[in-house]
């Protein structure tokens, strides 16, 4: 058992670094980049925690993870105990430990962040959750009490899964409807294997199924069945269908062969495993030079995927500067280590093709930053006459998603705003008394942990509503 450190000693210690696959090696494969802590490293990191009361960190976690409690059990080498603490409130710890923007959430709120050395809560959470997966340990069991009330959930992304898990534990009969042939939403079709192995998503989804949640795959709500029908068949409906419609630049040449939305590119690679073509049947086109337009996490995932698919040169084109890039610093750093090129303050105006309809380049202009706009970010302005061409045989547009209207069209009485997102209050209640909504389809593209939080709040609100009404 690890010794207890005195507070002064704790303050002196630095964060335990995470070992990564070497850049030159990892661009040749799709294996996970961060290798994870060893038990010794995890305990060493956990020992720095001050066990605050009240804990500042928890206020930063939308899933209310019992952080000091699980960290304490980890220090005592009671990993199972730590796992059970986490699983009390978070159904997706191995996922969240990897992909949460911890610097803005739990770690951002950690008292030690004031010293620039927040506890690596995400890495510790990942360690504990991976331990369970390695041992195939599961705490999931069907609840002993059954309420005889049915809830339908549309979408099996983090919002839908979190809501399903909480409701199932309370004794509800929960059915999830998923359009695709795999459960997990963006976790399986968007985020690449090298950041979030699909076996890990599968493991956490299986645990939710063990709670008795039924997941109906290949079921498109709005086409196979309408939301109106779900309202008739179920006591409550939770809409968590994500913000799944790709945006394009609306510049000439966007329909050339070799031009992808990030959603298509990543879906082919992740969900359909095109990186194993032809052993997996779905094709993908990457040759020598790939250009990705955008500066967010999705753009980083796309460009790093293109590199791994064999692009000699993989370039980010972004219209603002490095400071303004919305991607996480860690992801930009990983991309740089992997030799990704950055054309900043650059905006595409036209995509160029050959006579066979294949993309051959992308014409761009340079930008400079002018006055700040409403969002406080300095508005990029075109430098006149600065047009130039970047050669490209693959172009990927990663400038965001918007609301897909299929679900909303079949939901009478559920109001949407002018962008097509569902209108919902902080508990997920929509304008229809039987319908809740949460995740990206309410907020627009956001984060896994916010979707998890929204799913949990909706579960609580559904439970309150259904238990008041007998």
């Amino acid at each position: 058992m690890a010794e207890k450190l005195k507070p002064a000693e704790k303050l002196k210690k630095d964060r335990v670094p995470m070992r990564n696959q070497e850049p030159l090696e990892r661009v040749q494969n799709f294996l996970e980049v961060p290798l994870g802590y060893s038990l010794e490293e995890a305990i060493q990191e956990a020992q720095r925690c001050l066990q605050c009361n009240p804990p500042y960190c928890v206020a930063g976690c939308p899933a209310d993870v019992r952080i000091p409690q699980f960290v304490e059990k980890l220090i005592a080498e009671d990993i199972k105990g730590a796992f059970l603490e986490i699983k009390q409130t978070n159904a997706l710890p191995a996922v969240c430990g990897r992909v949460c923007p911890q610097e803005e959430q739990c770690e951002g709120a950690c008292i030690m962040n004031k010293k620039g050395k927040p506890i690596a809560i995400g890495r510790l959470e990942r360690y504990v959750a991976d331990w369970a997966k390695q041992l195939d340990y599961s705490d999931a069991k069907k609840p002993s009490t059954k309420l005889n009330k049915k809830v339908a959930i549309v979408g099996s992304g983090p919002a839908g899964l979190a809501c399903a898990s909480d409701l199932a534990k309370l004794g509800y009969d929960v059915t999830v409807y998923e359009a695709l042939h795999k459960a997990g939403g963006v976790l399986v079709y968007g985020i690449p294997e090298f950041r979030l192995p699909k076996a890990i998503v599968g493991y956490e989804v299986d645990q939710i199924k063990e709670l008795g949640v039924e997941i109906n795959l290949n079921y498109v709500i709005g086409l196979t069945k309408s939301v109106d029908e779900l309202m008739q068949e179920y006591d409550a409906v939770f809409l968590a269908n994500g913000a799944g419609a790709p945006s394009f630049l609306k510049i000439p040449g966007e329909n050339l062969n070799g031009v992808y939305s990030a959603s298509e590119f990543l879906t082919r690679s992740n969900l359909m495993k095109a990186y194993e073509f032809p052993n997996y049947a779905t094709p993908i086109r990457v040759d020598q030079k790939a250009v990705v337009v955008g500066g967010g996490n999705v753009a980083m995932d796309a460009v790093r995927t293109a590199k791994r698919l064999g692009a000699k040169e993989a370039t980010i084109v972004y219209r603002r500067g490095r400071k303004e890039m919305p991607a996480r610093a860690e992801e930009i750093g990983h991309a740089e280590e992997e030799g990704i090129k950055f054309e900043l303050l650059t905006n595409p105006v036209k995509i160029l093709g050959d006579e066979y309809g294949n993309v051959v380049g992308i014409e761009c202009v340079r930008m400079e930053l002018g006055e700040p706009d409403e969002s406080g970010r300095r508005r990029p302005q075109v430098v006149e006459g600065s047009n130039f061409v970047i050669d490209a045989d693959t172009v990927i547009i990663a400038i965001g998603q918007s609301a897909n209207p299929i679900v909303a069209r079949s939901a009478t009485g559920v109001e949407t705003n002018k962008w097509g997102y569902f209108v919902a209050d902080e508990n997920g209640k929509t304008t229809h008394p039987k319908v809740w909504a949460g995740g990206d389809i309410v907020t627009g593209a956001a984060t896994v942990i916010l979707a998890v939080g929204a799913g949990k709040k909706a579960a609580k609100s559904i439970h309150e509503t259904l238990s008041n009404k007998q």
Binding site: A179, L180, H181, L217, N218, Y219, V220, L223, T224, K225, G244, A245, P246, F248, K250, E254, N255, N257, G258, Y260, S261, S263, E264, T267, R268, M272, K273, E276, F277, P278, N279, Y280, A281, T282, P283, I284, R285, Y356, G357, N404, P405, I406
Partner: protein, 284 residues
Amino acid sequence: MYKILKKQKWSDTIFSNWIEAPFVAKAAQPGQFIILITSQSGERIPLTIADSNAKEGWVQIVYQVVGASTLELSLMNEGENLYAFVGPLGVPSEIENFGGKVLIIGGGIGIAPIYPVAKKLKELGNYVISIIGARTKDLIIMEDKMKEASNELLIATDDGTYGQKGFVTNIMDDILKKESEAIKDIWAVGPPIMMKMCTRVANEHNKQIWVSLNSIMVDGTGMCGACRVSVGGKTKFACVDGPEFRGNLVNFEEMILRQRQYCDQEREALMLLEEKIRRQASNG
């Protein structure tokens, strides 16, 4: 789930399967399609719903073997299960009683998807004139069913082995020359080049025409944009805005180029599968 209830071979390359899919069957309407995956390592391929029966819970598909995935599908037997089967996808055809005649044109494998459209049009009281065509007699499918679903059925083969020698567009042109006024609407489904030619004929007679665009798809629910086509100068997603569009507005050249996007990879996948089949055959 998604069991192959029945399978028929209609020619060297054309097959029809009846798939157990009660939820799809319940919601299916003419003009809509499904996406299926044969096995766990398979790709998502769209196929039109050729017929369905809500009471018995099946969906019929008709497909031509053109590459790896359709070959793999044709090798699956009755009683086996598909890995995935989802639908109905797309917007149903805009069918009503137009109070007159409608012209239905199906080319090759396009006869299968046009059948439910013809059937529904006739049910609603339209006078249905159907033209079906193919390269050669052997590839003319569903003749009996099309006869039932039409008031008049005309047949063309490129090589003259059956029906009239020539293209469906020749017959289409003749009919429009005779009674353009009486024809209230036109549907044409088949290879893109045929739909393009039919649209040209329709344009010459100042007629509107529906075509069904079989662009390359992945999810089929509007999530990826793989299926985008230019219609009236705007980008549309064939899987959710279509697959039927007014042919008069479609940029066929772009669509045809986009369909060839993965030619090299498709050849590679087919060769790999054929090699595997050969090896299996020689091992007993």
